[in-house]
Amino acid sequence: MSNAQVEIQLIASVTAAACALPGVFLVLRRMAMMSDAISHAILLGIVLAFFATHDLSSIFLVIAAVLTGLLTVALVEALNKTRLLREDASIGLVFPFLFSIGVILISRYAGGVHLDTDAVLLGELAFAPFNRLEILGNDIGPISLYVMLGALLLNIIYIALFYKELKISTFDTGLAASLGISPAIIHYSHMGLVSVTAVTAFDAVGSILVVALMIAPAATAYLLTDRLIVMIFLSAFIAIVSAIGGYWAAHFLDASIAGSMATMTGVSFLLAFFFAPNRGMVAIARRHHRQRFEFAGRMLTVHLLQHEGEPDESYESGIEHLQSGHFQWEPHFASGVVKFGQKHGWYNEDSGILKLTEKGKTLAGKAVTGE
């Protein structure tokens, strides 16, 4: 591995982790599409700041981007407040508008200089190592690595400081408000952070793939755990693995690194979708199969309880009646269920009629009350 390769992978990993952290709260707060809106809209801020400073590495670019990000959030909310549009339409109107102005400004006035529309969409990670940070004449590495480390650090500090507040306001807005945690402050600070992260990651991965790095690792982690703290670490981990995997896939295909990283986050989601221990499709199918018997057996106990001591008991609880289509079960499955319950001691056969045991009665009772 060459030095540049190592550096690219480092930048990719740090970028991915920095994006994944605010992404966790985007997914949990159901605002994933706001990241799409913000990452597009900040282009306008970047372009305007670039025209003012003529410097692509100016800190004003970041400030302008954050302001445009917050403007986007505020505009969406203002549109919602008019009650003329629903939230989905408001988001879908605001960001294409701001983004279009940005793209037109670039094509008209900055074409081919430093910004171009391809870079906006794609980013170019492969060029990142060319811009070096030098201190006192010593080359200490690519600038973008330090920029991304800064963004990552900012995200870590923010989450560490406001962990409790974020957690409460994410899961119970009402409770948060009653504890004096302003939902607006949490909302706007979170969105500000999304904007900062998006603008710093912009160079490397472009506006659309930022969304993949923010949403996909968090969504994947959401399938794997129920604990917030675990979800945060897992998202960062998945993001880093996808970034490195994406780099090598791109290397062999000689294709876009950023696109390949996004694809890898998708692959990791797909893996979790099928194979997550509890929530994966395979696990669900297995559990479902096992529970079919259990559920059917419980249904049978409730049925027996319902007809216990009734005049129709000898018919309704007759083993033949139950096996031959009362529940519209396949005969094979029906006799399996009857046996399943007997094996568990839920009921016994008494001259062709199923009689509940005490255990079966308790079970049926619990099933009915939903315990």
């Binding site: 990241s35 799409d36 983004f99 969504a219």
Partner: protein, 374 residues
């Protein structure tokens, strides 16, 4: 410059026709997405189409519009299907599923696109126009393909109008009426995918979603009838499509997609501000009018109250008294002038006020009416 002359230009005529067509179809289908609160599904569909375009080229080696659009439609459809599955089968909510699919599919599309660009023999030129759209590259045969896809979409929409309306308004009642809502939903999704695919070459995958969201959002402000809304939405879509495409074809360095979006956004902003009944300006005027009416009534009631208090009902009270009584709603002087001009109140030279005989009668009637309402 001969402005009408530009339409005799062959290229421009083709571009305008294509843009009108795509605006018409996306405006009509977007209405359904808007009313079902699924405006952002278009965003996911258009981004998800990108790998389909690239794969269609990789597999067939053809750059024929129809081939690429079929690839786009299949990928867009698959993306949507996956969103539905993720939402139905996991705990992940719709917003995350949308963001996930649109960005991952798009990322994969970029991988394929950059891969194609670096292939030695094949000239990739022509595929990246699908990112931001390039109206100027529209040829007559492209417009024919767009029409071949778009016209059936419009016909099916008209044919199943009643059923699609039922699906959008009251799904359960629709099932109860005997229509298979699930299949209708598939139909609507497919129509929407086609509507989006038609516009990709002109508007591009990045901004095509705006063509689904904006026209119905504008149209909704002008009408309370769904039929009118669809027609208006199509009209807005077509107008902004043509305007944007023509403007961008006439100047250098003006990408078509963003230009169309800006035209469209202008229509939306205008509609939100100025549409009668729903528009913000209208609402503000209405509110002010109401406010004034209430102020007027309040002052009239106060005067009536004062006249009942005094032995002489026509005894004039200083305006300061009325101001004190109206604390909180204001507008006393203006209301008094209005009452005077209607002959309901009178003032002395030193600005003391009372009701006239007719004023007392009318105020009394108002008070009774008010009591009757309680």
């Amino acid at each position: 410059m001969d402005y009408l002359g530009i339409f005799s230009d062959y290229t421009l005529r083709t571009v305008a026709l294509g843009a009108a067509l795509l605006g018409l179809v996306s405006g009509a289908l977007g209405t359904f997405a808007f009313l079902r609160r699924q405006s952002l599904i278009g965003d996911a569909m258009s981004h998800a189409a990108l790998p389909g375009i690239a794969l269609a080229f990789l597999i067939t080696g053809s750059k024929a519009t129809i081939v690429l659009l079929i690839g786009a439609a299949i990928a867009g459809w698959l993306g949507t299907w996956f969103i539905i599955k993720v939402v139905n089968l996991t705990r992940i909510k719709e917003d995350s599923a949308l963001g996930l699919i649109l960005s991952v599919f798009f990322g994969f599309g970029l991988v394929l696109l950059t891969f194609i660009q670096k292939m030695p023999q094949a000239s990739q030129a022509g595929l990246d126009k699908f990112l931001f759209g390039q109206a100027a590259t529209l040829l007559e045969r492209d417009v024919v393909v767009m029409a071949a896809l778009g016209v059936p979409v419009l016909i099916l929409t008209i044919l199943f109008w009643k059923e699609l309306k039922l699906l959008s308004f009251d799904r359960d009642f629709g099932s109860h009426s005997g229509f298979p809502m699930h299949r209708l939903e598939l139909l609507l999704t497919s129509l929407l995918v086609i509507a989006i695919v038609i516009g990709l070459q002109t508007v591009g995958v990045v901004l095509m979603s705006a063509m689904i969201v904006a026209p119905p959002a504008a149209a909704r402000q002008w009408t309370d009838r769904m039929g009118v809304m669809v027609v208006l939405s199509s009209f807005f879509g077509a107008v902004s499509g043509v305007a944007g495409a023509v403007i961008s074809s006439l100047s250098n360095n003006l990408p078509t997609g963003p230009t169309i979006v800006i035209c469209m956004s202008g229509i939306v902003i205008f509609s939100i501000l100025f549409a009668p009944n729903r528009g913000l300006l209208w609402a503000a005027v209405q509110k002010k009018r109401n406010n004034r009416k209430l102020q007027l009534q309040a002052v009239m009631e106060d005067l009536y109250f004062l006249s009942r208090q005094h032995k002489n009902p026509l005894y004039a009270h200083p305006v300061a008294v009325l101001r004190t009584m109206s604390a909180g709603h204001g507008g006393v002087d203006r209301s008094l002038e209005v009452l005077k001009s209607r002959g309901l109140a009178q003032s002395s030279d030193d600005d003391n006020w009372s009701l006239t005989e007719t004023g007392i009668k009318e105020a009394g009637a108002n008070v009774m009416k008010f009591k009757g309402q309680i």
